[in-house]
């Protein structure tokens, strides 16, 4: 049943593509697709992003629940696992950094197998880790590379990155390594969801939709590089005009550019509503950002009101007379 979800997403993406084709090619709504939608999408993205984070920030963390997979700091002669059970803020930062930069949690405890003589074997799903790592890092590098369209003068760091990414230019003209990697990684991550029944079972339409959308962005981007060239001067001039709030229209530019742009707009507008919010979320997840001090410090539930305690003594004081009358035993006379 769950397979329908992927079909829905494909249909949705194709439908969006058709909207754009009709809108730009057929009706010529350049203003809508070239100026209004991008502006709206950026506003959506920023406002939605900030709103979501603030919404999360206003929820209390009732329990002290750091994820722990090592020995907590306790007695001096017991060796604590600083990395997997961080006791200090520095330790938390280090663990978070490893999570964010190298996706360490993906490498751990993906599968558990019981081996013959009562031996647990933790298995890693190396491919998922590799795929995710390749995808996210390429994504970051590609984003940074794109900053050449937004910045004037172009910083030398970007040029350097570009040079490094295109180190195989000698082999295949202008195909960047990250372009290829992201395409492979994304295809793997998507196919994985379709092929494995367990993962298919837990996947929602949106889990297929976002990778497909990104795939659309990547494919249109690569096509623009390799097959159907786009006038980069007009593109950059358009970006600069948008940034200076005197928008112009990139009219002569290839249709592929509009597909690319439209999908990017959809993605960033959808971003605050989607699971993509794991980007800020990783910083705000209590299981990862708390120090493991559940033994050494007292954690107070923030929504605990002070409870009015009615002690036995007060009770006795209140009903002393009545109790005396019926002859109940009293602690104090």
């Amino acid at each position: 049943m769950a397979n329908k979800n992927s079909l829905y997403s494909i249909v949705a993406v194709v439908f969006l593509l058709l909207i754009l084709l009709v809108g730009v090619q057929g009706l010529g709504w350049y203003l809508l697709f070239g100026v209004l939608i991008p502006y709206v999408a950026v506003v959506f993205f920023i406002v939605g992003f900030v709103y979501q984070v603030l919404r999360w920030a206003s929820s209390p963390v009732p329990f002290h629940i750091p994820t722990v997979c090592g020995q907590q700091k306790s007695l001096p002669w017991i060796k604590a696992d600083k990395m997997d059970s961080p006791q200090t803020t520095g330790g938390v930062v280090a663990r978070l950094a490893l999570d964010i930069l190298f996706f360490r949690p993906l490498l751990k405890n993906d599968r558990i197998e019981l081996q013959e003589p009562q031996k647990l074997l933790f298995k890693t799903s190396t491919y998922l880790w590799l795929g995710a790592l390749a995808f996210h890092w390429s994504c970051l590098i590609i984003l940074l590379r794109h900053s050449r369209f937004f910045l004037e003068p172009v910083p030398s760091v970007v040029l350097w990155l570009q040079w490094f990414d295109g180190i195989f230019q000698g082999l295949l003209p202008i195909l960047y390594a990250t372009d290829l990697i992201i395409l492979l990684a994304l295809s793997y991550l998507f196919i994985r969801r379709v092929v494995y029944p367990q993962i298919r079972y837990i996947s929602l339409p949106s889990d297929y939709f976002v990778p497909l959308l990104i795939l659309g962005i990547v494919v249109s981007g690569i096509l623009m590089r390799l097959v159907y060239r786009v006038d980069l001067m007009q593109v950059k001039a358009w970006v600069m005009s948008m940034l200076s709030f005197h928008p112009t229209l990139p009219k002569g530019v290839n249709l592929l550019f509009y597909i690319h742009l439209f999908f990017v707009c959809l993605l960033i507008a959808y971003f605050p509503l989607s699971k993509l919010m794991h980007m800020p979320g990783i910083f705000l997840s209590p299981t990862r950002n708390l120090r493991n001090v559940s033994r050494s410090e007292r954690h107070i539930n923030p929504w605990d009101r002070p409870v009015k305690v009615h002690t036995y003594q007060e009770y006795e004081d209140e009903f002393r007379e009545a109790m005396k009358e019926v002859g109940l035993p009293l602690e104090k006379d």
Binding site: L107, K108, Q115, F122, K123, T124, T126, F168, G170, L171, L172
Partner: protein, 444 residues
């Protein structure tokens, strides 16, 4: 914890010591080697920016230290496979403790062989053009194909033989457990896994031998296929292969001696190993001499003026010191040491090996450079003195090789533990049986 360690390591604790104990010596070695690597890197950056003008190379002698290194490094790389693959195929039991050290030498030094050619390029930024516009008539492209195959095959060999040991480290569950877990490919040491591993290793060992021979043959073809005097020789293929195995085996002896000393492996790498390889090295010395003799006697009898010019420049001309030094180092010094049993000790074989390694580098040099000084038209009198850039890059390459070696031993055991155990548990009885099978059957 200690119990677990003891249970897994058993009597072979010393083989894991270099992984778990990091002494002062390690840091000193790494920082010295790291410094030298940085020096080499600085030299290369200088060369990249200024062009090859910073080297001592010239219009006339346009190949020098880098190409010598290319041939030399690739020659060294032949040892590993030779020791481990050939001895494995021949079922020589004494190979067990040294097979990994030699395979590792192969894999690492091979990278520097390839690297030396890339360093020598005028436009390294275009090096992938050799693949994009591949021209299969060029012997350089044969090199590319053959060396890539060799690197792949010998890396697989090394890795296959590592798997059981990686699993061992994983089961210890200490440092870097996740890393070992990934690399161990789910090895649990069952009977069927052992059978499959054995099959795979045997297959790769047999495969690697012809590949190894093609590699150095093709390296020699780079020279032999030209029509330059003293390069254009039909025996260059086998001559280079013999020279490669010669220098490679010598380098394995040196590596063994260093490992034995540094990691206290006296109980595993024993004088008998040095003795056995020493005998083999002696045979190679004689074989090398035979080829050198055959090469030069042919030239002398042919008496072609162009060839004789270069021949005399080696025998009594400006290359005479280098030529005779290489002959002394490759033949005069090692032969008596290796031939006389009294001297075939650890120290003796190591001295002979160092002499051979130095001599073989010089041999490559006196093969390459003199021919270039007098190409067919002796137009200019050219001299070649390598500059600091070339020496620094040379030193940087060797330092990086050693650094990689040191770092490898920080992560994996350098003696194949499982092979030692297999030897202890199974091979002893198997060998007895095998010997019985050689003997005439009892007709009872």
């Amino acid at each position: 914890m200690t119990d677990k360690r003891e249970k897994i390591l058993g009597e072979d604790t010393v083989l894991f010591e270099h992984i778990y104990k990091t002494g002062k010596g390690f840091y000193i070695t790494v920082s010295i080697l790291g410094g030298l690597v940085l020096l080499g890197l600085y030299a290369y950056i200088t060369q990249y920016q200024e062009g090859l003008t910073v080297t001592g190379l010239s219009r006339q002698i346009f190949w020098g230290v880098y190409i010598t290194n290319f041939v030399f490094f690739i020659g060294i790389s032949h040892a590993g496979t030779f020791i481990s693959a050939v001895l494995r195929v021949l079922k020589a039991e004494w190979r067990r403790p040294i097979s990994r050290a030699s395979e590792l030498t192969t894999v690492f030094i091979l990278m520097f062989g390839v690297g030396s050619v890339l360093i020598d390029l005028g436009r390294p930024d275009r090096m992938l053009y050799a693949i994009r516009y591949a021209h299969f008539r060029s012997p350089l492209l044969w090199d590319i194909c053959s060396i890539t195959t060799y690197l792949t095959v010998s890396s697989i060999c090394l890795y296959l033989a590592l798997i059981p040991d990686i699993a061992l480290l994983r089961d210890l569950g200490e440092k870097r457990e996740w890393f070992y877990r990934i690399l161990s490919l789910g090895w649990t040491g069952t009977e069927s896994q052992h059978r499959r591993l054995d099959k795979a290793i045997t297959f790769m060992s047999i495969l690697v031998i012809p590949v190894m021979i093609t590699v150095h043959t093709v390296v020699s073809f780079v020279f032999a296929m030209t029509i330059q005097p003293l390069w254009h020789s039909a025996i260059f293929g086998p001559y280079f292969v013999v020279g490669a195995i010669f220098s490679g085996v010598a380098s394995v002896i040196v590596v063994m001696a260093i490992l034995r000393k540094a990691y206290h492996l006296e109980n595993y790498i024993k004088p008998i190993h040095f003795n056995n390889i020493g005998i083999f090295l002696m045979a190679m010395t004689l074989l090398w001499f035979y080829f050198t003799f055959a090469e030069y006697i042919t030239i002398v009898y042919g008496n072609e003026p162009i060839h004789m010019d270069i021949f005399w420049s080696k025998i009594s001309g400006k290359f005479a010191p280098l030529f005779w030094l290489h002959f002394v180092l490759c033949f005069i010094i090692p032969l008596p040491i290796l031939a006389i049993k009294k001297y075939r000790t650890i120290r003796g074989t190591v001295i002979a090996s160092i002499s051979i390694i130095l001599g073989m580098w010089l041999e490559r040099f006196v093969i390459i450079v003199p021919t270039l000084t007098r190409q067919r038209l002796p137009v200019e009198q050219a001299i070649y003195i390598p500059t600091w850039v070339e020496w620094s890059i040379f030193i940087g390459c060797i330092s990086l090789f050693m650094l990689l070696y040191v770092l490898f031993t920080k992560i994996f055991p350098i003696v194949p533990v499982w092979e030692i155990r297999e030897g202890r548990e199974k091979a002893v009885s198997q060998v007895g049986e095998r010997i019985r099978s050689y003997l005439p059957d009892d007709k009872g």
